[in-house]
Amino acid sequence: MNWIWFHKLASPPSAYVFATRLRPWLFWVSVVMMLWAAYQGLFVVPLDYQQKDAFRIIYVHVPVASLSLLVYSMMAIAAAIGLIWRMKLAHAVAAACAMPGAILTTLALATGSIWGKPMWGAWWAWDARLTSELILLFLYLGYMALRASFDDIGRADRASAILAIVGIVNVPIVKYSVVWWNSLHQGQTLSLFGKSEIDPSMATPLVVMIFAFLLFFGAVLCDGLRAEILRRERNASWLSELKV
């Protein structure tokens, strides 16, 4: 295997340039995909037999909820790489993941709650999925709070990396404890989620929406990564040749 491309890309200047070039593509492609999928989801897709029109919320809720977990694992893996191989760029990626991740988690909770009101009759239920998503939000907030409390960026990187890794080890434990805890007490609500044999015409916009959110997150990550690289490379010489 030839790893030269990897080392080249992993150097801050080329990563910066790469992120700058990639961002508009990700952004505009995802916007187009989102508009199409939202139009399909809101107006074209037929009604769900059980949930009627309320099921249209699926097109924002499911992509966001799945992305919130994906972003956390990405953050933890990047943090681990940064900690083990002392790679600045990996730390920068982890740091850039936190804010969009927290926003996505909040949005997943909010849209889930809005969906829950007409379906379950309550804004909130201490259901397994909701609870573990809430704990995920706490993990994001703790990560950001820890980062913010260090003045030195190198120490903030390493300390928050440890927290992210401990958090990801704990995520399956939290998940199963919560699922198990809930199923002992009550098991009714989840059956409402049972797919009534989802039709391809319903599924295609959902898949498109999931990828659209993924690309949008990629675009946001590009900007966040650029900011983090600039913050870490304050005194590097390549900066002066960049734009001024």
């Binding site: 900690l83 704990i135 907030l141 703790g142 390493r158 300390a159 440890i162 401990v166 939290v174 919560v178």
Partner: protein, 231 residues
């Protein structure tokens, strides 16, 4: 201070040295050692005052009350786990000593559990009676012993992460409490089945495996965090 050792000490010897040091220090400041215990009892007292003081009503929330109080007490105690040693330079000596830092910090956490977790476990039957618990005290103590072990280890990671910060107290609660939620869930469940005299072996073995996992993994997280905190 640690005794000067001429030969390379074995791991058990090392742990014994650390344990003896911690216990001796604790004897000297026993009033501080008692604080988490008093805090535990005070927090439990708050619930009857805030809700319904009928024993039959308290019985319903007893497992939750016991565990929330135990979590808060262990959190309060964890803040003082490394701070004195970091401030007087002892911790720097430990890091530079060439001895395995994860093992040293694990031994220190063990001593910390003996000083804060164990008294809490021992006082639990009395507190539980005041919440209307009538049976299953042995199981409850066992469950609390396992659970406070996990709480101490996770609290130690949080303490090591935040010990370099000037005001890490609130931050530590924010970091550690979400990670401790599985203990709360399993622990409260086990206490509930113990109160109904049902077999709780399944949940106890689950808690034990969580403790084992924490014993294996957290010392390395503690050591890595400590290296960052004192540099």
């Amino acid at each position: 201070m640690m005794q000067p050792v001429r030969h390379t000490p074995g791991p058990l010897h090392l742990a014994a040295v650390v344990l003896m040091r911690e216990l001796r220090l604790a004897l000297r400041r026993w009033d501080q050692v008692l604080q988490p215990l008093i805090f535990f009892v005070v927090v439990v007292t708050l619930f009857p005052l805030a809700t319904n003081p009928e024993l039959s009503a308290l019985r319903h929330i007893a497992p939750g009350v016991l565990w929330v109080a135990a979590m808060l007490a262990s959190l309060l105690a964890a803040d003082a786990l490394f701070r004195p040693d970091v401030e007087d330079g002892t911790m720097e000596q430990w890091v530079l000593s060439g001895q395995p830092l994860p093992w040293l910090l694990f031994s220190k956490s063990l001593a910390h559990w003996l000083l804060t977790g164990l008294p809490l476990v021992l006082v639990t039957p009395v507190v539980a009676v005041s919440l209307g618990v009538e049976q299953g005290f042995g199981t409850i103590m066992m469950v609390l012993a396992l659970g406070t072990g996990v709480l101490t280890l996770l609290g130690a990671v949080g303490a090591a992460l935040t010990v370099g910060l000037r005001r890490g107290n609130m931050l530590m609660a924010l970091l550690v409490l979400p990670l401790e939620m599985p203990v709360l869930i399993f622990g409260a469940q086990a206490v509930e089945s113990a109160m109904r005299n049902e077999p709780a072996l399944g949940i106890i073995s689950l808690l034990a495996s969580v403790l084992l996992l924490a014993m294996i993994l957290t010392p390395f997280a503690m050591a890595a965090s400590m290296r960052i905190s004192i540099e």
